[in-house]
């Protein structure tokens, strides 16, 4: 836990308190820092669900407009958590708060409350947002493979971290593509453009790109909204495989999707968290009448 904290906060690679991290080169640091996380959650053997992301009374503004009102929820590690709700309810905004992508938009601010990942407030001034984003990956609504080869897409994040070793890169590319269930489809054309793939393949390439840097958390912002049902089924299947290795937070418009692939579901409406419970409960026995109305399709 201490190792994790110092790495997340310290912008420089060789954190003095972390013996394991300072021995390794920056490029190979990531697997090392995720190791304690494995130990903490007990790997796959012990299903201890601990809170990984703790959102505590969060108020968030776009300029003068308040987008999130007093959001409090705890997201557990190695689980799939779905955010659902009608358009403009703040679910994507909250998701983008988790890796501070909202920093890119002028005039956004967290007015009150905190988001803690492994106990560290990610909006603290000494948090290096680069380190944060290495550990909290993201898949976007519109698939955005870079106009480079499939291989270059996957290795993009690793090269940034200074990894140049061809053999290791090759191995990671294969692992990431297998992890994203894309290997068999693209193994013969790794060096052709990622934009030559179909829509569903592109989105899985983006997932492969995200998992190649071994994040702990993967945020998915409506990853299937532009995909046909067959491609959607593949991505959902993939999410089921990824849940054993990553903590996944998924925003979706599609309630069936949330029902099919998430463990926990949070329902948002007008910037407020209405209900947060096990997915089964949300869809079969919601506590709040608004939730009930939404999941049964009476509004939204």
């Amino acid at each position: 836990m201490v190792t994790d904290a110092s790495v997340l906060m310290d912008p420089r690679p060789a954190a003095p308190s972390s013996a394991t991290a300072s021995e390794d080169k920056p490029a190979v640091r990531l697997p090392t820092v995720t190791a304690p996380a494995d130990a903490a959650t007990g790997g796959a053997s012990t299903p201890v669900s601990e809170t990984l992301i703790d959102i505590d009374h969060l108020d968030f503004f776009y300029g003068a407009t308040q987008a999130l009102h007093d959001i409090s929820l705890q997201i557990e590690g190695r689980k799939v958590t779905a955010f659902i709700g009608p358009s403009g309810c703040g679910k994507s905004t909250l998701l983008r708060c988790l890796n501070r992508m909202n920093d890119l938009i002028d005039g956004t601010r967290v007015a009150r409350g905190a988001i803690k990942i492994r106990g560290i407030d990610i909006n603290r001034p000494d948090v290096d947002v680069i380190e944060l984003r290495k550990r909290v990956g993201m898949v976007f609504q519109k698939s955005n493979p870079f106009p480079k080869s499939i291989y270059e897409n996957i290795t993009y994040g690793l090269r940034l971290q200074g990894l140049r070793d061809r053999v290791r890169l090759d191995a990671i590319v294969e692992k990431a593509l297998r992890g994203a269930a894309l290997w068999d489809e693209v193994k013969d054309r790794l060096h052709t453009s990622g934009l030559g793939l179909s829509g569903g393949q592109q989105q899985r390439l983006c997932i492969a790109r995200a998992i190649a840097v071994e994040p702990e958390i993967i945020l998915m912002d409506e990853p299937c909204s532009a995909l046909d049902p067959v491609a959607t089924a593949k991505v959902e299947e993939l999410i089921q495989e990824l849940r054993t290795r990553f903590t996944i937070v998924i925003v979706t418009h599609n309630m069936q999707q949330a029902a099919r692939c998430s463990d926990r579901t949070a329902f948002f409406y007008m910037g407020k968290l209405i209900e947060y419970a096990d997915t089964r409960n949300i869809f079969t026995n919601p506590a709040n009448p608004q939730t009930e109305a939404y999941v049964s399709g009476r509004f939204g």
Partner: protein, 347 residues
């Protein structure tokens, strides 16, 4: 018969129908007129210029014109024949044939020899000033588009850039003269010319670079940042490469302008005549502080600074022809480069 002549969808000779035809021919006429004028200019230069640049004997290209420096032309009568000789040739001729020592020859400055130093000078001016303009312009565009937050100051900067684009080139020349030649003490030099020309095309380069950067989808930036890239890594690896084709397109226009403008280099970089070629310098630093001959300035000199006659016309059109050819050559090179980049990063 009358029933078949007026059916339900019979063409009506209304005003709207007739003006349709008129408008079509107005636009088509305007387009053809522009084409005609352009063709006229090019043909004129081509026909008159090719007489100087090409010849009927092998190697069919007037190599003297392309590889020699300008010299005076001597025209005289010798044994009933009209002779035309360049300066050096004429002197050699007089040495070898003592009888010709006293021959009366009419001399015409710059009408013999070639324009090699001008070609070299123009290429140097274009390469140097475009390098400076691209570096400064792309840097400024990256700052404006990627880093700066929109505010009153940035809007003012953009307005200033737009206004800069409207400044006449002679004013840039005057500015370069006052700033680089006098104040910085660079004298009439390549360096002063480079910066003056660079400043002149900067607005074009900045504006076009900014547009190209804007055209790169936001998703590429977000995707890169979400993988833990810093802002500069994102810009350098995942934004600028995709904007480069667009930036190069604009710089092609810049090249034509930089190569073609006479006014900015008149006071800052151009010599009427210079014996030494630019690389004939004592030490490396002298390279930057020497004036050069340049094609547009040479055209200006031979068409307005010396007495006009049939011999100067040859030089004028020959130079203009070579000048167009060189601009086309540099532009083609940039287009090829751009297309290669475009094929590499297609989205």
């Amino acid at each position: 018969m009358s029933a078949s002549a007026t059916h339900l969808f019979q063409t009506q000779p209304t005003l709207a129908r007739r003006s349709e035809v008129a408008v079509f021919w107005l636009f088509r006429g305007a387009t053809y007129f522009v084409l005609f004028c352009g063709a006229l200019v090019f043909l004129d230069i081509f026909v008159k210029g090719s007489r100087t640049v090409f010849q009927t004997k092998a190697p069919f290209v007037n190599t003297t014109f392309l590889t020699e420096a300008p010299e005076s032309l001597y025209v005289f009568e010798w044994q009933g024949k009209k002779m035309e000789m360049g300066d050096r040739e004429f002197r050699a001729f007089k040495e070898h044939t003592p009888a010709a020592a006293q021959v009366k020859a009419e001399s015409y400055v710059y009408s013999a020899g070639g324009i090699f130093p001008c070609i070299v000078g123009t290429v140097l001016l274009v390469v140097g000033s475009m390098t400076i303009a691209l570096f400064l312009g792309v840097s400024a565009a990256i700052y404006l588009n990627e880093y700066a937050r929109d505010g009153a100051f940035i809007r003012f900067v953009r307005l200033a850039i737009l206004n800069l684009a409207g400044v006449p080139s002679i004013v840039f020349g005057l500015f370069g003269f006052g700033m680089f030649v006098i104040f910085f003490g660079w004298n009439v030099s390549l360096l002063a010319g480079w910066f003056t020309l660079a400043f002149m095309v900067l607005p074009v380069v900045i504006t076009a670079s900014e547009e190209s950067l804007k055209a790169v989808p936001k998703g590429f930036r977000e995707g890169s940042l979400a993988l833990g890239a810093t802002k500069w890594q994102t810009i350098f690896k995942n934004v600028v490469p995709y904007a480069l084709p667009g930036i190069l397109t604009s710089s092609i226009l810049g090249i034509a302008r930089v190569a073609g403008e006479t006014a900015p280099i008149m006071f800052t970089a151009a010599y009427v005549v210079r014996d030494k070629l630019p690389w004939e310098v004592d030490k490396f630093s002298d390279f930057f502080f020497q004036g050069v001959m340049a094609l547009p300035y040479h055209i200006y000199v031979v068409s307005s600074k010396i007495p006009q006659n049939e011999y100067t016309e040859r030089v004028q059109y020959g130079t203009a022809f070579v000048f167009l050819l060189i601009v086309a050559l540099i532009a083609t090179a940039s287009i090829v480069l751009r297309n290669r980049l475009r094929n590499r990063y297609k989205w």
